[in-house]
Symmetry: C2
Subunit: 354 residues, 2 copies
DNA sequence: AGAATAATTGTGTGCCCACACACTTATGAG
DNA sequence: CTCATAAGTGTGTGGGCACACAATTATTCT
């Protein structure tokens, strides 16, 4: 009841007429306590509402937790992957005094080899927990298997590999995000429409995720009543501006009625750039609050961005591991982050807050 | 450099060839240190990158921070004000071991007297900090003045009183939120439109805020090119269902071309209910993820909800005070929270995450 | 110079908890 | 009825820091 008074282990000891050592044994059920006293102590703990002071506990234990994160490197600030990284670092700061150390092992976005070699390095560290962005399915599964052998818990962020044995997945529901993109795009284009789903990929990464996106996007229009919408698909095997421009030119020449584009990665700004350059009035929806996207959102070349709370992903990943270490609390298998709908009018609040 | 090794005050003492006591004096500049040693110590601190362990510090200080919150009571769970309250409690849990105690003093939403009497009670507590939802302008200003005299920092949440002397305001940019509502509503209604701004108020509360909302809403349509939109206003002095239904009936009989309604409080579900009951195809945009709104959003009677991160408001308010107490860090004067755009398709992620 | 005083600096205790260890009883074997 | 062992319980230390107080050194005044 008395909120302001903190009950200590000593208080419990006094109440139960035993020494703190015995209390401690009960708390951590390390045995060697007579049943009567044990019961009395448990009663005392309940009655006094005793909660061990996490602060003092940490200090006493002097525990260190090493968490290694295997995520893509951010080639420049403002790059998408700098945001989850921020989240990781923020969490590290929050929990540093509790002994948390987060070590980031960046790999090159489209390079399985660098993924593998960094994974190897992590294994050598013998971490207490691992955070991984499993962009390469095959390689990730192998890595996870090795972690499992060593009994190291593992958190997936950004994208999921269904059926894995990870501690938890923290990231978007990609199919639903595409469904939302469809709805948003639909609201800004006219009646009889042709829309484009545009993938830009460099390697073999997340092919399954792209399929789920297409499914989500198309599902919306299947459910929609009213005029049918024709949906095109285009895959460009590059994120290089020149290549993208060339391919878009080719495509638009053959498909002159496109009214909106859904860009399935964080490169919507390239498409917007193309439209602005060629004075095309085509609406764009894409992903992620990277700087170039923000610029084009404000310019009007992008109408909607869906943000998958990238900072929260990093933050929550560390938090989940921390809670596992300290409280033995297992998180839910899937933690879908909010899909923020970003328009020109609310973007600043997302950038500035926190 | 060496991330894993924590430097303690003892390390610094060794490095500078003094005792920990002297280091301590420098850290808290409590004087009584010779200039030479002081300099040497400061250099050592920098070189070793020493940061006092917050854990140990808290333990040693045994400090208690009492924060009192003056916010409206939540008549039932699922009520809007239960969410900021959740944020407050969450923050209290986070910082409890650091000595933070958050005491909530609820007042009745439309009752200045209860506001005043609770304010009085808070003053008697002599808290270290205060969080206040300044729904009653005059009363709030008086309260803030008294706090100022006692040198108690004060955080505003939910709504602002411009020109105040509070530590910080944490809440939405209301005008912008209405602008966004306008844009969203506009995207779901047809071409030539008549829209309604609907206020439901019981007392004198936040009249200025309502004005700012109207301004924001209208601003969008002034800037919009294309067909003009006629905007009606209606104020109902109640949130009672029967009264609201009666007034809406009166209004709709005289204004048969309304295509969308912007509800300026969290009672959009009442309007949706009315529409569903009377089979009216009128779009609705409103505020806040309260349970009834969520239900109607899913039923389709509400199209958009703008959520002003109410939990974050409570959380951040406590955080801001904590950082002031512990790190002497002053927050920015205005911390506008994200304005989340909620639709049926992403609402669940906002409810389930965290 | 010697004493008194001021200016520095070091030491020790407590904050609360975990854990190793020491200590005290109870139990069973010989 | 011992002695050895097990079971149960208490004590002490350490962890990093803040702070009161003790101890030391420098300074000033007679």
């Amino acid at each position: 009841m008395e909120k302001s008074k903190k009950v200590t282990i000593q208080d419990v000891a006094n109440y139960a007429n035993v020494s703190v050592g015995t209390i401690d044994r009960v708390i951590h059920n390390r045995g060697k306590v007579s049943p009567e006293k044990k019961q009395k102590i448990e009663e005392a703990i309940k009655k006094l509402n005793f909660n061990p002071n996490l602060i003092a506990r940490t200090l006493a234990l002097g525990s260190r937790f090493l968490v290694c994160a295997l995520i893509p490197s951010a080639p420049h600030s403002g790059h998408y992957w700098s945001i989850p990284k921020d989240g990781l670092e923020k969490a590290e700061n929050m929990y540093r005094d509790f002994g948390m150390v987060v070590d980031i092992f960046p790999f090159h976005l489209f390079d399985e080899n660098s993924f593998n070699s960094q994974a190897q390095k992590i294994l050598e560290q013998n971490p207490d927990g691992v955070i991984i962005a499993p962009l390469f399915v095959q390689e990730s599964l192998e890595f996870v298997k090795k972690l499992e052998e060593k009994n190291i818990p593992c958190v997936f962020i950004d994208s999921d590999i269904p059926g894995q044995k990870s501690l938890t997945y923290i990231g978007p529901d990609v199919k639903q995000s595409a469904y939302i993109a469809a709805k948003l795009l639909n609201s800004v284009v006219g009646k009889e429409n042709e829309l484009l789903i545009l993938h830009m990929v460099k390697g073999y990464e997340n092919a399954a995720a792209l399929k789920r996106m297409e499914a989500g996007f198309i599902e919306f229009f299947n459910e929609k009543k009213g005029d049918p919408t024709r949906i095109h698909k285009l895959t460009i095997n590059s994120t290089n501006k020149d290549v993208v421009f060339r391919e878009l030119t080719k495509f638009y020449i053959r498909n002159q009625n496109i009214k909106g584009v859904f860009v399935t990665n964080s490169k919507a700004f390239l498409v917007s750039d193309f439209h602005l350059t060629h004075e095309l009035d085509i609406r764009v929806a894409g992903y992620d609050l990277v700087q170039e996207n923000i610029n084009h959102l404000k310019k009007g070349g992008i109408d909607y961005l869906i943000s998958q709370s990238p900072q929260k992903q990093g933050l929550k990943a560390v938090q989940s591991l921390f809670e596992l270490f300290v409280y033995k609390k297992e998180p839910g298998k899937i933690q879908n982050v909010p899909l923020d709908i970003i328009i020109r009018e609310n973007v600043d609040f997302y950038i500035n807050f926190n």
